[in-house]
């Protein structure tokens, strides 16, 4: 589903290189965890997959379902099934969640040649999603993330993901700022969406999220490169030893 080859990327504004040759292959149904210390480039990778223009891909390639992702606008990527759950979801006062999601879903449907979902059908559809995820109905009428607690914002990201039904879900530090209860709710929401057709790239600093969202593969990103890959036991090893023991693997 996702093939990243020798990806180099830098900050558009000052040209500072962040990613220095990433290779990653993700197949449908898999969950890949990307772990790494602060500043390793893992959030940059997540944002580049969604098409944030603050970064520039300088060489290498990203193929998604056999198509070059790099040249696509963020909205086109979303229409093709890429979803980024933000580390810091944006508050948009004056725009209700319902309106926002309907605009998003119908834009996607239009792009894929499907008919627009009418207001009534849409309400039925999202009410079901609200129920599935155990959320409150009031979420629908509230403005997007406005005045939400950290946990509510992250839950709203997962809710949006459930509504938009993407193929590739990228979670950027979804665990940051969550207490253990909120973490479990969010993880349960993610697990409910796991399917043989859908893949996840979970970016996280800590291992604890991976207790709840169990990955098939764990990759350690340091200084812009994946320095080690393994299965879920690698995350536990990291939890034990920290990142220091990997320093020798970092090529500067």
């Amino acid at each position: 589903m996702l093939e990243i080859k020798d990806l180099h990327a830098s900050v558009a504004e000052d040209g500072k290189e962040i990613l220095r040759g990433i290779n990653l292959s993700v197949k449908p149904g898999e969950v890949h965890a990307i772990m790494g210390p602060n500043g390793s480039g893992k959030s940059t990778l997540a944002n580049i997959l969604a098409g944030r223009e603050d970064y520039e891909v300088t060489s290498g390639s990203i193929e998604y379902k056999g198509e070059d992702l790099v040249e696509l606008d963020p909205e086109d990527r979303a229409h093709k099934g890429v979803f980024l759950a933000f580390q810091y979801p944006v508050e948009i006062p004056g725009v209700s969640n319902t309106y926002f999601l309907r605009a998003a879903l119908n834009a996607k449907r239009e792009a894929n040649g499907e008919p627009e979902m009418g207001s009534m059908d849409f309400m039925k559809y999202i009410r079901e999603k609200v129920k599935q995820l155990g959320l409150k109905d009031e979420l629908l009428t509230r403005s997007v993330n406005e005045g939400f607690s950290g946990g509510e914002k992250k839950r709203n990201e997962i809710f949006q993901m459930a509504v938009l039904e993407p193929s590739l879900c990228v979670l950027d530090e979804t665990d940051s700022g969550l207490d253990i209860d909120a973490l479990q709710t969010v993880a349960a929401g993610v697990n409910a969406l796991r399917s043989p057709e859908r893949a996840f790239v979970v970016v996280t600093h800590y291992q604890r999220l991976l207790n709840f969202i169990v990955p098939d593969y764990v990759h350690i990103l340091m200084n812009g490169r994946i320095v080690k890959s393994g299965d879920k036991s690698l995350a536990l090893e990291l939890e034990d030893k920290g990142y220091g023991w990997l320093d020798e693997l970092v090529v500067s």
Partner: protein, 420 residues
């Protein structure tokens, strides 16, 4: 211009108001940008027009003026004169809604308030209005009256090169409640100069919501004075929606003349093309324990210019005043201009007064968030711009009025989003 009014029959107080207006206007003339209060209001182009006195409007309009006035209680003023055919004046308990011209002769109350609220000595165009107005609206709420349906006052101007001087007097006696919408529109692309004056008296324990929509043609000039006097324990909520006019200026002043008064003085401005939209507001806190809240949201595109001047005076006796002013501008083009000037003068020592002014563009993080969900860039921008302005529209209590203004906001912004 002054000859247009037949003054033979008028009561002495009115003749004296007209004389005073003519004298003040004669002395002040048309201000130049050297005058601090008119620094950003270019009136030079006014001088290039050969202005004529306002004449009665046509019986048939290019643009249907009832588009704006769809409620059950409405009065339509065409070129400053009440049009009985377009107006809908049902008998409502506690409400008097009639031609100001008639009220001058029939209602003794008019003499107590007309010209007593607006301070024309500071406003040359309000002085001119006082000298030349022909007609307008008298809206009176008797003590205890609670009028549920929205009362609409629609000013239409039709024709070219005329000075139209509508005059409105609103008197809300004690314990009365009403929601009033006052709107200005043009018949087609009329190129008149409208110089309205609206005076509002809100008596003790009364509650008045007053929405203003300025939606005249982009070739027209509009220079207005709205002045409100509030007595103790009253509430006045004003929402100024300013979309229209080539050059449109409003001076809106509120006298908080009692204790425990609540005032809202909010605005939504959208200026495009080469429009100049200028709002000068003034809140005068004279006595203790009053609250005033002011939010101005301004969207400026193309080569348009917007001016905001927000004065808040807190006099020495006005302890425990809580005054909050926010004015925000969203610039959609590199050629758009905002001149923003909060002006707080505080002479009391135990008060809470804050003001904040921001100027910004659409935030890239907001835009990216929406695009990452599949919303195309242009739609994302439209939603964000709409949401910026909607924060003020959402404060309006009447859903029908709010939705109508939201639709008008879409069309003014040139976007099609469907209702949120």
């Amino acid at each position: 211009m002054l000859d247009a009014v037949n003054r033979d029959q008028e009561p002495e107080w009115l003749v004296s108001l007209r004389d005073r207006g003519a004298k003040i206007h004669g002395e002040l003339g048309v201000p130049t940008t050297r005058n601090e209060e008119w620094k950003y209001t270019p009136l030079r182009s006014l001088a290039g027009v050969n202005w004529n006195p306002g004449e009665p409007g046509p019986a048939v309009f290019g643009t249907d003026p009832t588009f704006y006035a769809q409620t059950t209680i409405r009065v339509v003023i065409v070129n400053g004169r009440l049009d009985r055919n377009l107006s809908e004046l049902p008998v409502v308990p506690g409400l008097t809604l009639m031609s100001l011209r008639d009220a001058i002769y029939e209602k003794p109350d008019v003499a107590l308030h007309l010209g007593q609220i607006a301070k024309i000595e500071d406003h040359t165009f309000a002085a001119l209005n006082s000298a030349v107005f022909v007609d307008g609206v008298y809206l009176h709420l008797s003590a205890g009256a609670a009028v549920e349906p929205v009362i609409e006052i629609t000013h239409v101007t039709s024709g070219e090169g005329m000075v139209i001087a509508p005059r409105v007097l609103i008197v809300a006696d004690e314990n009365s409640t009403a929601k009033i919408v006052e709107q200005y529109c043009s018949d087609g692309s009329s190129t008149n100069l409208t110089i309205p004056v609206t005076e509002v008296f809100v008596a003790k324990h009364s509650n008045v919501e007053h929405v203003r929509l300025q939606d005249e043609s982009l070739d027209s000039y509009h220079i207005a004075l709205w002045e409100t006097k509030q007595a103790g324990e009253s509430e006045y909520r004003s929402y100024n929606v300013a979309f229209g006019g080539g050059l449109a200026r409003l001076d809106q002043n509120i006298d908080l003349n009692g204790e425990h008064i609540t005032t809202r003085l909010d605005g939504v401005v959208v200026a495009r093309g080469e429009q100049v939209i200028d709002n000068h507001t003034k809140l005068d806190h004279a006595l203790p324990n009053c609250n005033s809240f002011e939010i101005y949201k301004q969207i400026i595109d193309d080569k348009a210019t917007v001016v905001f001047n927000g004065k808040i005076f807190v006099h020495q006796d006005a302890q425990k005043t809580d005054a909050k002013q926010t004015n925000q501008a969203l610039l959609l083009s590199p050629n758009a201009t905002i001149n923003s000037k909060p002006q707080l003068e505080i002479f009391a020592d135990d008060v809470k007064c804050t003001h904040g002014a921001t100027v910004g563009q659409i935030e890239e993080t907001f835009r990216f968030y929406m695009r990452s969900r599949g919303i195309p860039k242009a739609t994302a921008d439209a939603i964000l711009v709409y949401a910026f302005a909607a924060e003020v529209l959402e404060l309006m209590s009447d859903a029908v009025v709010r939705e109508r203004l939201e639709r008008r906001l879409y069309s003014k912004l040139g976007i099609d989003l469907g209702l949120m």
